[in-house]
């Protein structure tokens, strides 16, 4: 089991979400985060272009069984890239080993609880 954490652009959330659903990966957690990366994000504030310190991003957390890791990662990369070639600020994916997964309702453990 792996935990896939993806940091993506806010405005790509729907693209990624719909692509994941199409790939039958439907169990995800989404939250709004902000942080520093390579990107300088320009926003318009009262007619001036400004660069905020912290750039808002969306974080996806997806727990998957090992044979789903590649599908999930490929789907995210494909749908979260800007203009199919990619631009600085498109985000990152982290994969960490997942020790255990427990479904609260039944107490099931392991891969079948995902």
């Amino acid at each position: 089991m792996k935990l896939i954490t993806a940091i993506i652009r806010e405005n790509k959330l729907d693209q990624v979400r719909e692509a994941l659903i199409d790939a039958e990966i439907t169990r995800i957690t989404v939250s709004r985060v902000s942080g520093h990366g390579q990107q300088y994000n320009e926003e318009i504030y009262r007619g001036a272009r400004v660069i905020p310190n912290l750039i808002p991003k969306v974080r996806l957390e997806i727990a998957v069984n090992d044979d789903f890791v590649n599908t999930t990662v490929d789907t995210i990369i494909k749908s979260a890239r800007t203009n199919s070639k990619g631009e600085v600020g498109d985000g990152k994916i982290f994969i960490t080993p997942l020790e255990e997964c427990i479904r609260i309702r039944t107490g099931e453990r392991g891969g079948k609880a995902i």
Binding site: E10, N11, K12, D14, E18, V30, R32, S34, E43, I44
Partner: protein
């Protein structure tokens, strides 16, 4: 203290006396300060409804569309006010031209000719013009609820500008100008006190046509679209209720008995609508939702809008009650039919406006019917007035629907009306405004 008060009173009196010379208009009509003060207040109250509507609609859409949706209301305050001063007031309240299609009066261009005019009601014509101008702002903004979350900003702006010119102004002229044909239909005209046909039926029906034309949002109705912030929606509904006193009681263009009657009817209908909605909802769904209460307020207010000047509290209560039930059913029906009138512009404003405009005839106060009978030369029945109302409602529906269809067709062809799939997925805020509305509120 007392002496001081007395002296200041005398000075005020003297000032008023000397000032009286300048408040006389060229035609000799004098300013009635009481009426003017209330009409100024009403003008501000009706404008307050626009940010109220922005909050109401803004809270109902997803996080990525909140600014774009609020801008639909705000941009109307800009463009419609400019157009109103340029030609809107003239097209609405000038004399019949082109067979009465709309009005025109060259003195009203840029309001040049009314700099010192006082209307017979004792109000500077500027105040009357600005008061009416607020209605021209909120009406197109109401339509935006029908096609929320999927419209290009540029397309929307061009559409409401054309809609204001070619749908709102003519309808306003027909119903409210002294030579408008609906104003003079039957014994004492079609009853539309504050905009049941002109504002609510026109915007609701246009919204329905627009929603059908542009189609549903991505994923509708399979993906549920959750409101981003119902707290903001509740504040917006509250502001709308407050502002509606200017909308309805101000439409008496007086500060007296009729104002009081309209104000009371407004309060009663809104309250009855809200209570009915949550009772119906409790029975049907098991819970009384906050959004249900807000929807009931609006249904009641919309239904009493045409009726506020002619119904007594009992009538207003029944209108509010019926409007809430019928609008509730209309929204259930919408869900069954599956079209995407996203924020129920038709379900509340269109349906509520039709309910109010038609059913008000059964609750008209006796004195109005008596004057109507005199005006008709003997007798005037409820059913005769019902015929007049039905005619006015049908004309408003047909005109708004046909013109909206044509306008959207044109706008879609030349500017583009529906947002591209990509813009829609990214959200209106990012795509059209380069901003984001909510800080850390989780996306929905």
């Amino acid at each position: 203290m007392k002496g001081l008060f007395k002296r200041s009173a005398i000075i005020t009196g003297l000032l008023l006396f000397f000032a009286a010379g300048s408040v006389l208009a060229s035609d000799g009509t004098q300013i009635d300060t009481g009426v003017t003060a209330w009409m100024l207040t009403s003008t501000a109250l009706v404008l307050l409804m626009v940010p109220g509507l922005a909050m109401f609609y803004g809270g109902l859409v997803r996080t990525k569309n909140v600014l774009g949706t609020m801008m639909h209301s705000f941009v109307a305050m800009g463009i419609m006010a400019v157009l109103w001063v340029l030609v809107g007031y003239s097209m609405s309240f000038g004399s019949n031209v082109l067979g009465g299609w709309f009005g025109w009066n060259k003195d009203y261009f840029l309001l040049k000719g009314i700099d010192e005019t006082i209307t017979p009601a004792g109000v500077p014509e500027y105040v009357f013009s600005m008061f009416q101008g607020k209605f021209a702002i909120i009406t197109p903004a109401l339509i935006a609820g029908a096609f929320a979350e999927r419209i290009s900003f540029k397309g929307y702006v061009v559409f409401i500008a054309l809609w204001g010119l070619l749908v709102y102004n003519p309808l306003c002229h027909w119903v409210w100008a002294s030579d408008g044909f609906l104003f003079n239909m039957g014994a004492m005209g079609a009853i539309d006190f504050a905009g049941g046909t002109v504002v609510h039926i026109a915007s609701g029906v246009s919204g329905l046509v627009a929603a059908l034309y542009v189609g549903s949002r991505r994923g509708h109705p399979k993906t549920a679209v959750a409101p981003s912030n119902l707290v903001m929606t509740m504040i917006g509904a509250g502001l709308l209720w407050v502002g509606w006193f200017g909308f309805n009681a101000g439409s008496s263009i007086s500060s007296g008995l009729l104002t009081a009657q309209a104000l009371t009817a407004t309060q009663v209908a809104a309250a009855a609508g809200a209570m009915t909605w949550i009772i119906v909802e409790s029975i049907h769904q098991g819970k009384a939702s906050a959004l249900g209460f807000a929807s009931g307020i609006l249904a009641g207010l919309v239904a009493v809008t045409p009726a506020a000047g002619v119904v007594q509290p009992a009538g207003a209560m029944v209108l509010g009650l019926l409007a809430a039930i019928i609008c509730y059913l209309a929204i259930l029906m919408k869900n069954k039919l599956g079209y995407d009138d996203s924020l129920d512009a038709f379900g509340i404003h269109g349906v509520g406006g039709i309910v109010g405009s038609m059913l008000l005839v059964f609750f008209i106060r006796k004195s109005w019917m008596a004057s109507a009978a005199t005006a008709a030369g003997g007798s005037w029945t409820t059913w005769q007035q019902f015929g007049v109302q039905a005619a006015a409602v049908s004309i408003a529906i047909a005109y708004a629907a046909i013109l909206t269809f044509i306008l959207i067709f044109i706008v879609n062809k030349f500017v583009g009306f529906r947002a591209s799939t990509e813009s829609e997925m990214q959200g209106l805020d990012h795509s059209y405004h380069g901003e984001q509305g909510y800080g850390m509120l989780n996306p929905r």
